[in-house]
């Protein structure tokens, strides 16, 4: 018998069915009379035919193979895989939020409108910006929206600035968003401390610079201490400063992008504000801007008149609509629930604990793995597997070995400016026991590499499937199931 985790097509047996459909009470029509021949199928569609119990067991088997924050530790650097409180789900399921439709007239959904308006206000305070749009449906779309705002702003000033500066430690989405928005990207190297090289920045900034995109703390988990000087350099040349909020989990209630001198900010609600990462979305990447850029925000925008909320579109300088309706509403409800549950003191505590946890783990692991940047880190840190590589074991092998212990591995081979990189972000929601158990495991793996490297080179040993052939999957992908007769 085929195991339940096989493809549902492989489990299929003809003439089984998981549902009993009622007899049709309307006349059948002949498709041949309605459609031309070339639109009609010549053979029956091969749909899987399984019993209800087979169906349930198949999908339950698949779901049991899933690994998420609810299953165990997930220190995937730069992704902020924190626990998403279940209260968020309760609130998102309230009828007033769950059973409304975006085409309803705004007078009938004032509660939802109030939530959106209030979330914008809260995110503006958290980011130090003057106005926020909730429309962008992901961080990368937020980046693109922000850059289109920058572009339109410069054009309005009679300038067609063509360049966006990006540090070499940046997320890959930064140069990608800049390219999609029609800019040329210029890479700014890091200095020996892993921070933006201010002299190199000065050499690259000119009157063609539309914006500098920066994450602070950076992808290396380091705070750009020269941020005010960096902001001045870019502003003096007439450029704008874009804050990638990917690492906002490190600064809540401590500082804001606004205080640092940024003009445009996106926040990833699925990272910092506990909305689900899973299944490819839906996400949310709200964008905040300073007063001068407010007219360029996407429409529609929400206004409050007296105690009534409404959408307005009359903004001649706006970059236009970037998302259908008004963002991913269910996700926005979850983020708002989280912010209101935590409050300002709670959010400050989030960042303090996130930073403490990262530094604790870093200190425990530093004697065993090279730490290219030994200074105090923020919410995440980067180790290098170069010493292990000399013994013939690479970072990929370490990541695979971690699977045997039931951990999701850290981010590997990123950032690109650290050789054999391992990027670890524990988040604030883990206990000290979890951090210690993970550190013990990493230390054990470091010892195995010295004493019994095959144990690591041949890992994983305990998963259902061992090493996948990633090369073949990329070179010769099989994207469609074909029935084996």
């Amino acid at each position: 018998m085929k195991p339940y985790h096989s493809l549902i097509f492989e489990i299929s047996q003809s003439d089984r069915s998981a549902v009993d459909l009622p007899d049709s009470d309307v006349d059948t029509i002949n498709l041949n009379d309605k459609f031309p021949n070339h639109l009609l199928r010549e053979t029956e569609a091969e749909l899987p035919e399984v019993s209800e119990l087979q169906l349930i067991r198949h999908y339950t088997a698949l779901s049991n193979k899933n690994y998420g924050v609810d299953s165990g530790f997930y220190p995937l650097g730069s992704c902020t895989m924190k626990y998403n409180p279940k209260l968020n789900e309760d609130v998102a399921r309230l009828e007033g939020f769950n059973r409304i439709h975006p085409y309803q007239s705004t007078e009938t959904v004032q509660g939802a409108m109030h939530l959106l308006y209030q979330l914008q206000e809260d995110l503006a305070v958290i980011s130090g910006m003057d106005a926020v749009t909730l429309q962008p449906s992901a961080g990368a779309q937020g980046e693109w929206t922000g850059l289109m705002i920058a572009k339109k702003y410069h054009q309005q000033n009679g300038e067609n600035r063509s360049k966006v500066l990006v540090p070499d430690s940046a997320h890959g989405t930064n140069p990608a968003s800049a390219a999609v928005a029609g800019f040329e990207t210029v890479t700014i190297p890091s200095n020996a401390d892993g921070l933006v090289d201010v002299e190199a920045l000065k050499a690259h900034v000119d009157h063609d610079t539309a914006a500098l995109m920066l994450t602070n703390p950076s992808t290396l988990g380091l705070f750009e201490k020269d941020i005010v000087e960096i902001a001045d350099i870019v502003h003096e040349a007439g450029g704008l400063l874009y804050y990638d909020g990917a690492n906002a989990n490190a600064i809540l209630g401590k500082t804001t992008p606004g205080k640092m001198g940024f003009d445009i900010v996106h926040l990833n609600l699925h990272k910092t504000f506990t909305t689900p990462h899973g299944g490819g979305g839906p996400g949310a990447g709200p964008v905040g801007v300073v007063k001068e850029l407010t007219p360029y925000l996407p429409v529609p925008r929400i206004t409050k008149e007296g105690d009534q909320y409404r959408f307005h579109t009359d903004e001649p300088l706006s970059v236009g609509r970037v998302k259908g309706y008004y963002g991913n509403f269910g996700i926005l409800v979850r983020a708002y629930t989280y912010i209101r549950t935590m409050g300002p003191d709670g959010l400050r505590q989030v960042s303090e604990s996130a930073v403490l946890h990262a530094n604790y783990l870093k200190k425990r692991l530093e004697p065993y793995f090279e730490a290219p940047y030994p200074q105090i880190c923020k919410h995440e840190f980067v180790l290098s597997g170069i010493n292990q590589k000399k013994l013939g074991v690479r970072t990929l092998d370490i990541a695979k070995r971690l699977l045997d212990f039931g951990y999701h591995p850290p981010t590997i081979y990123f950032p690109l400016n650290v050789e054999e990189a391992l990027m670890i972000e524990p988040t604030e929601t883990e206990t000290k026991e979890t951090l210690d158990a993970f550190a013990d495991t990493m230390i054990q793996i470091a010892k195995e590499i010295e004493e019994n490297p095959m144990m690591v080179l041949e890992a994983p040993h305990t998963t259902v499937i061992g090493r996948l052939d990633e090369t073949k999957a990329s070179r010769k992908p099989i994207l469609r199931y074909t029935k084996q007769e």
Partner: protein
């Protein structure tokens, strides 16, 4: 690590073979080893004008994407079409079948700045 003596090298891990008026270039054995299994190679079109320091394409492996840099200005005269379907040639035969493009250098003086195999080897060992 294989480093043929008859080739020249750049510190961007590109090798150069002089062939009369033309040069062929590819990535070194060290580069292909660092990259891991190559799954896609993006190359310029024949006839395209390249300038040194500009990226002319990229090599994508399961691990990362790396930009490619030519050491000289010049025109692309030939492109290794085989890499479109068999990018693994970059791993299997970095100096022969895995070559990337052939260029007609616009300024042959630029070739004088290239490293010989010993100097490139020295650079690699300093990095280690």
């Amino acid at each position: 690590m294989d480093l043929p003596n008859d080739l020249k090298y750049t510190d961007e891990h590109v090798w150069v073979r002089e062939e009369g008026d033309f040069i062929s270039i590819g990535v070194t054995d060290h580069a292909q080893d660092e990259l891991g299994d190559v799954v896609f190679v993006e190359l310029p079109e024949q006839g395209e004008q390249l300038s040194a320091t500009d990226s002319f394409g990229s090599v994508e492996s399961v691990k990362t994407v790396s930009e490619l840099y030519t050491p000289v200005d010049g025109e692309v005269v030939k492109v290794n079409q085989a890499l479109e379907d068999t990018p693994e040639l970059v791993n299997e035969s970095p100096y022969q079948q895995g070559w990337l493009i052939q260029i007609k250098p616009a300024n042959p003086d630029q070739l004088k700045q290239l490293l010989d195999s010993q100097s490139y080897q020295k650079q690699l060992s300093e990095k280690e």
